[in-house]
């Protein structure tokens, strides 16, 4: 393999000023011929700086690092002036990216005349051909930008970028503000360009576009690469805590899931972090995170091309089940015991701050698995590791401490909550049991917890279970489960017994609290509709085995196993109808 077309090494950019802002803090990337690299990031992540930096337009910013284009170092403005448009061009997407007072044709032909010394006739012919190629037609040459629609302007912009046949094209948010039809055409056009052998570098936050075009994806956070790797791997199964949050916050993901944010706000851009820049918002930070920049390493359990810049090697597993089997005694007879296998060799991983949906038909073994996760049942064989420790081996004090890390929510709160206790007592019980804090603190904590589940403490503290609705009771149960600040919440059919309005409320509450606390959740349900709304990843079980597993979006778009399809159908045409537009973005 020859050297890549574009190679960027340790690119650092700082804007001077009273409080200098570091926009890029050491970015490496490579771009090969005929491939598309997609840089994902929020606004302020350094995307624009990267785009401008790659064509030498950073003005008075301090730039360090190395940019090599076709094996040639680009250092000063002379170098840049030599390669601009002939070897690298850019597509800008704002409304003013085309000069409002010049005709489209002139703006396309301009670089050709300046760099290629083309005659007017040759330039005009080239302009017409290009306008045809991008799907506009020669009529557009005589128009002013005002006279074209946003989509047409974007296509014209691409014609501008192609005019000198630059092998590398930078695309800054190429799909922003386009209607679905135009967007589809544009992506098709870009795909064709890539297949011709051009190298595309796309900076975007449009995940669907990335999914459609990108070969590789690079996730940028505050001028620093959080995760990089093959597009499918990163987009479907992000492993860095930041990219996980970013990808799950994105509405164009094509899932029916409720949006989740990343907790906290982006920090002050003028502060340069010593350690991992994401540490303030990360739910799995450890002291080592603030000490030094995390190196880019393959995430836990992988050795492939994907890398994450995380001290903990990406999201850490909270709970791991390995080869779990569990059978129940069906009949005890003279010829021996007759067993029925509820769970037959299941592997299951729940990672940090992730919501895993566990779905299956009745009797598929879901509840058994859920209870094994909470160690309410002992498996016959297999391994259960909670934050790295083997829970099955724990006893006594250690086990009690481990139990606090996993809490469970049961289907019917009326059964799960003792009718004798007042609500206050119920919520306080786990604190008493685990002897957390002093009694006064526990009382305050109860009020706080009830507040978190949106129950007015003063009104419900002294009530008993029969005085509250099922929805309210499930929220009391949730408060109780949260009391010990668990790392994992196992919710077994948490909305099964609720009426529809309460169902929505409790689901929303679960999701909100899960994001705020950075807590992982295993959501067990037979209703795929409920699960898809909340879960990041879905595991389908049937007959005690895992039959399908994948990101929610993928399960929704391409259900593989018949059981999954059946469950999808059963959970209502409603999902299919409401989200049909999102199912296939390209």
């Amino acid at each position: 393999m020859s050297s890549p077309r574009l190679r960027v090494e340790d690119l650092r950019v700082t804007y001077p000023g009273n409080r200098p802002v570091t926009a890029l803090a050491g970015v490496d990337l490579t771009l090969d011929a005929g491939s598309c690299l997609c840089v994902l990031g929020e606004s302020g992540s350094g995307k624009s700086t990267l785009a401008h930096g790659l064509i030498g337009l950073l003005g008075d910013a301090e730039v360090a690092g190395r940019i090599r284009l076709e094996g040639e170092d680009l250092a000063d403005q002379g170098d840049w002036q030599r390669v601009r448009w002939r070897q690298i061009s850019i597509v800008l997407s704002s409304g003013t990216a085309l000069n409002p007072v010049l005709r489209i044709g002139d703006q396309i032909a301009e670089p050709l005349k300046v760099h290629g010394g083309a005659s007017s006739g040759a330039a005009n012919a080239r302009v017409d051909a290009l306008l045809d190629q991008v799907g506009l037609g020669p009529w557009a040459a005589g128009r002013f930008p005002r006279e074209l629609s946003t989509g047409q302007r974007r296509l014209a912009m691409i014609a501008v970028a192609l005019v000198c046949d630059a092998p590398v094209v930078l695309l800054d948010e190429p799909t922003s503000g386009l209607d679905p039809q135009t967007r589809r055409e544009l992506l098709r056009l870009l795909g064709a360009l890539r297949d011709e052998g051009r190298s595309l570098l796309m900076l975007t936050h449009d995940l669907a576009a990335a999914r459609a075009l990108a070969d590789e994806v690079l996730v940028l956070y505050r001028g620093w690469v959080a995760e990089r790797g093959p597009a499918a791997a990163v987009l479907d199964d992000p492993r860095h805590p930041y990219s996980f949050g970013l990808l799950n916050a994105n509405p164009s993901l094509g899932s029916v899931k409720e949006l989740r944010g990343i907790r906290g706000d982006p920090p002050d851009p003028s502060q340069v972090a010593v350690g991992c820049p994401f540490v303030e918002r990360c739910t799995q930070a450890i002291p080592a995170c603030v000490k030094q920049r995390p190196p880019e390493i393959p995430p836990d359990g992988e050795d492939g091309p994907r890398h994450v810049a995380c001290v903990r090697a990406g999201l850490v597993p909270v709970l791991e089940l390995r080869a779990i089997t569990k059978s129940y005694l069906l009949r005890q007879g003279p010829l021996g015991h007759q067993h029925v296998a509820a769970v037959a060799g299941v592997d299951l991983t729940v990672r940090e701050s992730e919501v895993v949906g566990l779905v299956g038909r009745n009797g598929a073994g879901k509840s058994t698995l859920a209870q094994i996760c909470a160690r309410l049942l002992e498996p016959d064989a297999g391994e259960v590791r909670l934050e790295g420790t083997d829970v099955l081996a724990l006893t006594g004090r250690d086990l009690r401490r481990a139990r606090a890390r996993v809490q469970m929510l049961f289907p019917d709160p009326l059964e799960a909550l003792s009718a004798r206790f007042t609500v206050g007592r119920l919520v306080r019980e786990p604190l008493d049991v685990q002897e957390v804090g002093d009694p006064e603190w526990r009382d305050e904590e109860v009020t706080r917890l009830l507040g978190q589940v949106r129950l007015p403490a003063s009104a419900v503290l002294d009530r008993r279970t029969h005085e509250l609705s099922t929805g309210q009771l499930q929220r009391v149960a949730l408060a109780r489960a949260l009391a010990l600040a668990p790392k994992l919440l196992v919710a077994d059919e948490p909305v099964e017994h609720l009426d529809p309005s309460e169902r929505a409320k409790v689901l929303q509450l679960l999701k909100t609290i899960q994001v705020e606390r950075g807590m992982a959740m295993l959501l067990v349900s037979h209703d795929l509709g409920v699960v898809l709304r909340v879960a990041d990843r879905v595991v389908v079980v049937d007959g005690g085995r895992v039959v399908e597993e994948g990101p929610s979006a993928q399960i929704l778009r391409h259900p593989a196993h018949p059981v999954t399809r059946q469950l999808l159908e059963a959970s209502g045409a409603e999902i299919a109808d409401r989200f049909s537009g999102l199912l296939d973005p390209v």
């Binding site: 401008h52 337009l57 601009r84 002939r86 704002s94 003013t96 085309l98 409002p100 010049l102 760099h115």
Partner: protein, 329 residues
């Protein structure tokens, strides 16, 4: 497409026609509106306007036709204008139209030259200053052109006169050409006229350039942050194209608007500058008319100058669409 009579151009022309009518009527109404007998001050020896010559007083009274009904006066006035009759000059005893026809070209020569010159200067300096904003060259240009804008034309003219016609007598003191000169060739004639023009034009240009300079500078600065400028630089275009084609083109509309508005200022400036240099244009004419209280001449001059300004503004407004595609609907 809208029907022709609804076109924005016709609308503009209509509005200017209305304005012209307002000006014509203003000239008719003004002397009649003023409190008391408008001509009373002419016969009042204690007034600054006192006119010594009784026959002149009688002629003025006849010109205004004050003894006839107002409507008749108005229509007689309009009919006169329709035949390009602007009245009879008292002091020169000649038709006003004839006098103005002799003087107007000189004023137009000064104005057009100064407007053109100041436009070129202000555009170039404005773009340059914007391009170097904050640098020393920008500051120097701002100070120089702000001063040129602030100091009245006649003060600049007087200082130029003293400096370059008296202390260092490079240019002639007064007039539009050398008196009683006979020229060996047409070029000599043009050279002589040109030499006489230099100082008045410089004085006039200074004031006009100042205003437009700031307009151009600020518009160009506002374009510098736009994405099309970023793109133009990304295209690797040479600086000249960036400066004038991409950035300067966008400053053209406000610039041309400024040029249109400036015609009025240019007229005023020309009147002052001509007076300083005794240049034989409308300025010296109006100055003499004021001294002689020659009202018909004053009114005629005002009407003609107002018409010139209105026509230029109309042309500028009609030209907008050609210059800037953003104005087209």
């Amino acid at each position: 497409m809208s029907r022709p009579y609804r076109s924005p151009h016709l609308r503009t022309v209509g509005l200017y026609a209305l304005t012209l009518w307002a000006v014509i009527t203003l000239v008719f109404v003004l002397p009649r509106l003023l409190p008391g007998d408008p001509l009373a001050s002419l016969s009042d020896p204690s007034s600054g306007n006192f006119l010594y010559d009784p026959t002149a007083r009688a002629k003025i009274a006849a010109y205004y036709g004050l003894n006839k009904p107002l409507v008749n006066q108005y229509f007689a006035y309009l009919a006169g204008l329709a035949h390009a009759q602007l009245g009879w000059s008292i002091s020169q005893n000649t038709p006003v139209t004839t006098i103005i026809a002799r003087r107007l070209p000189w004023t137009l020569l000064l104005m057009v030259t100064a407007l053109a010159l100041s436009s070129v200067i202000s555009f170039l300096t404005g773009v340059t200053a914007a391009w170097h904003r904050g640098d020393r060259i920008d500051r120097a240009l701002i100070v120089a052109l702000s001063a040129a804008r602030t100091i009245p034309d006649y003060a600049v003219a007087s200082l130029l006169l003293v400096a370059l016609a008296v202390v260092v007598p490079v240019f002639p003191l007064a007039g539009a050409k050398t008196a009683f000169a006979s020229y060996s060739s047409p070029f000599a004639a043009i050279g002589d006229v040109g030499r006489h023009m230099v100082l008045p034009v410089v004085a006039l240009t200074a004031g006009l350039a100042g205003n437009k300079f700031l307009t151009v500078r600020n518009t160009v600065i506002s374009t510098l942050g736009e994405d099309y400028m970023l793109l133009a630089r990304a295209k690797g275009l040479p600086r000249r194209l960036l400066k004038y084609r991409h950035s300067g083109r966008n400053a053209l509309l406000p610039f041309v608007t400024a040029v249109g508005i400036q015609t009025g200022f240019a007229v005023g400036g020309a009147l002052f500058v001509e007076t300083v240099f005794s240049y034989p244009g409308m300025g010296t004419l109006m100055n003499a008319a004021v001294t002689a209280r020659d009202y018909p001449l004053l009114q005629g001059s005002f009407l003609v100058l107002a018409t010139v300004v209105l026509v230029v503004n109309l042309v500028v407004e009609l030209a907008y669409g050609r210059l800037d595609p953003r104005v087209r609907v």
